[in-house]
């Protein structure tokens, strides 16, 4: 098996006349941690949904390991080892925290081991005291954590995180960054993020999307020095909202 985990070729998604994703060639190697950034409407979310299988591409292909994802159902993609965390936490609000984790662990580990795995993750995200609390009673930030826990419990090979720090305090975001790096030791990770501070803290490779296409790729420093990126994304923000270190 090659060390390329995920590869998209000429990926296109059209909505009516709009090309939300316009010919993206994207390669991700095993063990990588990659941040996907770009201004609003750049196609990040659409790209994310194409990978998860919740949207079907208009053209182009997606390979995950040796699988052609465009032919698989979303549940088959998940079973193949892809874990997804949505922008708005998508958790079972009526069910207790432990049940949320159990449901996720059960897919990969089966009935016998699911309870043990759920307990371990409960400890890992430091939610032991909330074991029997319905997730709906938790704060927004805590619900984010539950969803991250659900991803961990499934032990996926590739993890997609859509704005994991949305709605978190600065301290919580830092903690999440540490956790993402920790997760990255076990799995390949793609993070869609707005928070530049968070991206910098992750010290990961960065892919910039703009108008549905890849504008630039490289380290955070390279991206920051890229004049085109500065112009369309960082630069504009800087002019608009003060010092660059504080952008978004």
């Amino acid at each position: 098996m090659s060390d390329i985990v995920l590869e998209t070729r000429g990926l296109v998604k059209e909505f009516g006349g709009l090309r939300a994703v316009d010919g993206v060639d994207f390669v991700l190697r095993r063990g990588e941690l990659r941040c996907l950034i770009g201004p609003n409407g750049a196609g990040k979310s659409t790209f994310f949904h194409l990978l998860a299988g919740t949207l079907r591409p208009t053209a182009g292909g997606i390979r995950f390991k040796d699988l052609d994802l465009t032919r698989l159902e979303p549940h088959e993609i998940a079973r193949a080892g892809m874990g997804i965390k949505f922008q708005v936490p998508r958790v079972y609000d009526q069910l207790p925290v432990a049940e949320n984790l159990w449901l996720s662990a059960h897919v990969r580990h089966g009935r016998a081991a699911a309870g043990t795995v759920a307990d371990r993750v409960l400890d890992e995200i430091r939610f032991l005291q909330h074991r029997n609390t319905p997730v709906g009673h938790l704060s927004h930030g805590d619900r984010q954590w539950v969803e991250i826990g659900m991803v961990l419990a499934a032990e996926p090979e590739l993890i997609l995180l859509d704005e994991p720090t949305a709605g978190m305090t600065h301290a919580e975001a830092r903690r999440t960054a540490d956790l993402v790096r920790e997760i990255n030791r076990r799995a390949t990770v793609i993070v869609v993020e707005h928070d530049m501070d968070f991206v910098r803290h992750l010290a990961a490779g960065v892919t910039v999307l703009h108008r549905g296409a890849i504008l630039a790729q490289g380290s955070m420093d390279e991206i920051r020095d890229n004049p085109v990126v500065r112009d369309i994304y960082l630069g504009k923000r800087r002019r608009a909202s003060g010092p660059p270190t504080n952008s978004d």
Binding site: E73, A78, R90, L103
Partner: protein
């Protein structure tokens, strides 16, 4: 159990009434399984009930063997559910459309069975009979090999139906408590999320719907065997809505709620009817509206919650609601 003593306390008429209420409880259970646990509102339970009734009639009249006829009722209803469920769940039809489709199928059956008055419409010796219905359906009987079958008198029938109800409740309980049931609840809470965790929700919904249809068919078969009669009214709009009302009043997602709701609504209907109040349906309507307003989650969950609060007393316990008192 108190249930076992009831026939000694009640009149024969009441025993017969209670028997059919328990048959309706089965029908309500079938809806609670798919709606209360699967989150899929089906208006088609009356269709499965009716198909079960007609299947029991056709097989019962032609073979004279009522046990076989009950099996046929379950199988026919389950097959219809499988067919309907396959196309809707695998075709990813939305929840709203699903409810409409199931209702439509029920009403189509109403029309179709209503236009079978001509004697040509018969399966073997069983005439479908149009809106007059199918008559001379054999009563449920105890059939042991090598012995003449014994038709169940009202009291033995009461016990037989009661035992069936208890058995089905126990099986449903086991089902919703199994890991299958836990995943089913997850589907009810968020279908997409469950799918993205790696669960194939389509066959799970289909299987649940088939089981639910089979239970409704069983109820229909027992109903035909109880009354020796089935007519297209079983497919009517009011019958379809009634099943939903039973479960709504009792509270969904509890199993016991479906049973309690059916009994409350049916006793109320009977009482108001027997008290020869002029506006029976109006009063019944008012009563149902009040119940839904006072107990929006249904009688059983609301009373259960109240009992728990009472038990907790003034203790500073957190308002912990469990995932559903299955």
């Amino acid at each position: 159990m108190a249930l076992a003593a009831l026939p000694f306390l009640l009149s024969l008429f009441q025993v017969v009434q209670l028997t059919v209420f328990m048959i309706f409880c089965l029908l309500a259970l079938s809806l609670d399984l798919i709606w209360g646990f699967g989150g899929i509102l089906s208006f088609g339970q009356a269709a499965f009930f009716g198909v079960g009734g007609y299947a029991y009639g056709v097989i019962g009249i032609n073979s004279g063997r009522t046990a076989l006829a009950v099996v046929a009722a379950v199988v026919a209803a389950a097959l219809l559910a499988a067919l309907l469920g396959y196309f809707t769940f695998y075709g990813r039809v939305g929840a709203m459309y699903f409810a409409v489709i199931t209702l439509t199928v029920t009403l189509i059956l109403h029309q179709v069975m209503g236009s079978t008055a001509d004697p040509r419409y018969a399966v073997g010796a069983a005439r479908l009979g149009g809106y007059n219905g199918m008559t001379n359906i054999p009563s449920l009987a105890l059939e042991l090999p090598g012995r003449p079958s014994i038709v169940l008198e009202p009291v033995p029938l009461f016990y037989a139906v009661g035992a069936t109800l208890l058995l089905i409740v126990a099986l449903c309980r086991a089902l919703v408590r199994s890991s299958f049931g836990r995943v089913l609840r997850a589907i009810r809470e968020d279908e997409r999320r469950t799918e993205l965790l790696g669960y194939d929700i389509r066959w799970r919904k289909l299987l649940t719907f088939v089981i639910s249809g089979g239970i409704a068919g069983l109820a229909g078969g027992l109903f035909a065997g109880w009354g020796n009669f089935v007519n297209p009214q079983v497919f009517s709009l009011s019958q379809s809505a009634l099943v939903v009302i039973w479960v709504m009043v009792g509270g969904r997602g509890t199993l016991y709620g479906a049973v309690a709701g059916t009994l409350v609504v049916q006793f109320l209907t009977n009482y108001l009817g027997a008290a020869s109040v002029t506006y029976t349906t109006v009063l019944l309507g008012v009563a149902l509206v009040l119940i839904v307003l006072l107990f929006p989650r249904g009688l059983v969950p609301s009373l259960g919650l109240a009992a728990r609060r009472l038990a907790l007393g003034l203790a500073q316990a957190p308002p912990a609601e469990d995932s559903g008192p299955a």
